[in-house]
Subunit: 576 residues, 2 copies
């Protein structure tokens, strides 16, 4: 392909609407254009990257026995009503009516439709396991679409669904997909980490997220400093090791109300009463669709709302507003405490219950209570792990230090169990002729998101640095002047030779200055650049430059193909 | 792949809802399942066929310089309002609102979005021509979806758009696509014919449809008996050669009103007045959004409403109801005639104007007029070709006989001209720095429809007969008994050998009776079946059967791969 013919509209300026690097660079490097908020057209170079990612995914799914199908994007409401998700999914579900007034939605995910399909076609345990997948546009009507392909309203997903006869079968399917995902992201040349994750709204039990590591990642990953241990979790899910800090300090004293004028925050109370923050009980009021909740963690900790949400088994969890706090505690925000608080659910973190002579709010303006001994003084309805774990804490698996990294979630594997098969009465007959619900798993990869994550992980101030495995082209040939006929001929013949040798090569044949071509090549991020200039040619050589580190060497004309192939091979191996 | 693992749920019964062969067979052979009216899930075998068709399309588009992109399915209403199509498209457009109440539609086609894209990115004639395409789901909310994939509401299309600097450039792009389409359908192993077509609602001038020939085809194709001439047209578009039949019969007589009690139809008038039908002027009343219309053809002809619609340049054309006819002509249906008819647009076919002493309705119950000499007696507002051409008439190009065939439209190439670029102010700068609108073409292939058309063209009473080029697998190996271990081993090793030799092979390893396996193999339509039975094995042979004609031969075990390859090659060449 010739740059003169290719639709790759590079931009000099950073587009104002683009907040993150991948959004900026994919726009600037001419990979995509916006059609509406969160909705993009993928231009030729992006489509090449996507095709490569899709090919790798297909190969790895097929290798594990996956069968590719194509389900509808537009799904009848009846299915979603049957599973109960039509009502709970909320405004993120794009809904529409057909000409006869029937309700449909644009699929954000396909559990319902595939469960009904398998229900209709599979009767016997002999036909299991079954792994079905598709690669397709998905839809999510984000309230505030942003970050380009990272959080769009229309995006490409691979979704695979596994159907097994029992939990043991699901374990095997899950493990297959875990391996397949590891292979997919390795083969895409990305640095990533599978982490224990939260199962969120889809339901189910075990789940891992595959995180592409990048400083700009929206998620925090905690992982064990001991590589042999291998523990890694999304921060929202990381298990806390309860510590007994704050349990020292002598015999339990008597509950005493003290005056703490204007002290609302842990910091203020700490200073005023001269107690360490780990001896303060932080009490935060929430509301759910069922009740009000007072959640307690130590003053030096933060509440992990995902853990709290899961512990409460609620649908909605919101921080209480000022009026609610006033009504529930009888005091303004900043003075809540578990003692004497009634008509509210008390949830304590394990660490809180281990405190001795602690401090908490008195549910009264400007007042706190000291000598709180939770085991004696508090009767929580629920004591569990509800706090956020941070780097530096001990690994829950081996006790070594936890380290922190930022990641972008590009894939997730889930054990669904019988959630959908039960809701939709999808059963098969086991060896004894007994009807049993399918035991299901679901496994997603964000394909467009993977492309964006690859950019977030691989760029510098000049542009994208594509991993060679998913680069839109491997090599760009840049003749420094279009006026020198000899030079152009050499460039053209290198271009042809490389393509004939199976190296995906593009030539920048535009009548532009060399500087413009170099800038565009760096911005787009082709892994290898061959520069054909008159100086080099005088010595029978061209310049080979690696985009990743700028390493440049002169290569004799008769060795270009071999030299390029060697470099690409090395780059590919490095990448993994 | 093993049949025991593959999701290919064959059915014994013909599903009640399926009216056409492709719909019946694709359901029965386990290629697809319905998710909602006109909306289907494509199962693994269908997906393999679709993938093959898509690969062929991509190769042929790329060969002509096409660049693949991916545009959104969900399109903002603003674009459609700008082109004017939001209001005229009608109920076939799926419309929806996002959470902020903004209007969107699901793209039935992508002229607006691509024109705006190119408008934003291409400034100079130097960047033209530009050929952009995508393969993607399209949406059309059919009033009555039917015929399975032939007329669905969600379907896969390839759409390419060409952008040129002028008509000469468009001619070249059009020719490129014409060639590409010819290659695509040839390479799919289909018998087809490109025909001159009507440009319909999309607008534009030149257009050809690519018709897969099949008796069940919904369209009538007229083509010249002289292969050298090569004229072929969709019946809706076929040009009429006006004939002067009915112009004999002597000197023009005097207009005379005659009593024709109860004679409403051409047939009744013919008998009652003893005149041949070609001497009767059939007058049909229509309504458009602008006016009432009286259209006239000879009594032995039929009105071609597409031609009439185009001639009237209207948006809506409907047959007038009884009340309207009564109001406009003053008589019940059956007595309309051009003479004395006022306040209505008169449109005459060429042949009508050539009649001498003809008969027409008198706009009065039970009355007709004789001795009508249109050149003398009728002043039509428009005289043009508005009649339906039929087989047996002369070819408009060479005068030879026209023959008739039935066809299924699977592709269409259009010259759009500047319809969209003008409406959306999409211009480039020419050599003189002058802004000019892009001259556009659009080119569609119905991908799912092509699969269905392949079935309509290739089946027998036992099932589908896939052209080898797009068959889901080339060969099925059928061991006649699963109990004979030696036999199973031989079958397995043939299965492995064929796959290793690059032949896409499946093995029916189910513990079913041989008859069930044969029936399923025939129903699915694998081009070649290798039957491994004990009788043959005793002589060191297996049976090789061609699905198309049932031709069977015994092949020595050591020659299976070569024999299969030779058969597939021959089948592939036959197909084209």
């Amino acid at each position: 392909m010739r740059v003169s013919n290719l639709l790759v509209p590079t931009l000099r300026e950073v587009p104002a609407e683009a907040e993150v690097v991948s959004h900026q660079l994919l726009l600037r490097a001419g990979f995509m254009r916006k059609a509406a908020a969160g909705i993009y057209t993928l231009l030729p170079l992006a489509w090449r990257v996507i095709s490569k990612i899709e090919r790798i995914i297909r190969e790895e799914m097929d290798k594990q026995g996956g069968q590719e199908i194509l389900m509808p994007i537009i799904q009848p409401a009846e299915l979603w009503q049957a599973s109960g998700r039509w009502d709970v999914y909320g405004p993120e579900l794009f809904r529409l009516k057909d000409r006869h007034g029937r309700d449909f939605c644009l699929g954000p995910t396909h559990e319902e439709i595939i469960t009904m399909l398998v229900k209709g076609e599979i009767n016997s345990y002999k036909q299991l396991p079954l792994l079905l997948y598709q690669i397709q546009n998905k839809y999510r009507d984000e309230r505030r679409p942003r970050f380009g392909l990272m959080r769009g309203r229309e995006f490409i997903m691979k979704d695979l669904y596994s159907f097994d006869r029992d939990e043991a079968g699901l374990d095997i399917s899950y493990q297959k997909m875990y391996e397949a995902y590891t292979n997919v992201f390795s083969r895409c040349g990305l640095r990533f980490r599978p982490v224990v994750a939260d199962s969120g709204a889809i339901g189910g039990s075990d789940t891992h997220e595959f995180m592409v590591l990048a400083e700009s990642g929206e998620a925090t990953v905690l992982y064990c400093a001991d590589e042999k241990c291998g523990y890694a979790a999304n921060q929202e899910r990381a298990e806390a090791v309860s510590q007994r800090t704050g349990s020292g300090g002598g015999a339990p004293g008597e509950l005493t109300k003290v005056h703490t004028p204007g002290c609302r925050s842990v910091d203020e109370v700490t200073k005023y009463l001269n107690v360490p923050p780990e001896k303060i009980i932080k009490t935060v009021i929430y509301t759910t669709e069922k009740e009000n909740v007072a959640a307690m963690v130590r003053g030096d900790r933060e509440i992990n709302e995902i853990k709290l949400y899961n512990a409460l088994e609620c649908v909605r969890l919101d921080l209480a507003d000022e009026q609610t706090v006033q009504r529930v505690t009888g005091a303004p925000v900043g003075y809540a405490g578990p003692i004497g608080l009634e008509g509210i659910k008390l949830v304590a973190d394990h660490e809180v219950m281990a405190l001795v002579n602690a401090v908490c709010g008195a549910n009264e303006r400007d007042m706190h209570i000291i000598n709180v001994n939770p085991e004696r003084d508090i009767k929580p309805h629920l004591t569990t792990d509800i706090r956020l774990v941070k780097a530096g804490e001990p690994c829950p698996k081996c006790g070594a230090n936890l380290l922190e990294a930022r990641g972008i979630e590009v894939g997730q594997v889930f054990k669904l169990g019988i959630k959908y098969s039960k809701a939709l009465s999808a059963t098969f007959l086991d060896e004894n002729g007994k009807a049993k619900p399918f035991v299901m798993g679901c496994y997603g990869i964000g394909v467009t998101r993977t492309m964006a994550a690859a950019v977030e992980q691989n760029y510098d101030e000049r542009g994208i640095i594509w991993p060679v495995q998913i680069a839109p082209y491997h090599v760009i040939v840049v003749p420094v002047s279009n006026k020198d006929q000899n030079l152009m001929q050499v460039a053209e013949s290198i271009y042809c030779d490389l393509n004939e040798a199976g190296v995906e090569t593009i030539i920048d044949d535009r009548p532009e200055r060399a500087g413009v071509k170099f800038n565009d090549a760096d911005l787009v991020g082709y892994p290898v650049r061959i520069t054909v200039g008159s100086k080099g040619l005088a010595g029978g050589q061209v310049e080979l430059t690696l985009r990743r580190d700028g390493e440049t060497e002169m290569v004799p004309l008769n060795n270009v193909v071999d030299a390029v192939k060697a470099k690409l091979k090395a780059l590919g191996e490095e990448g993994i």
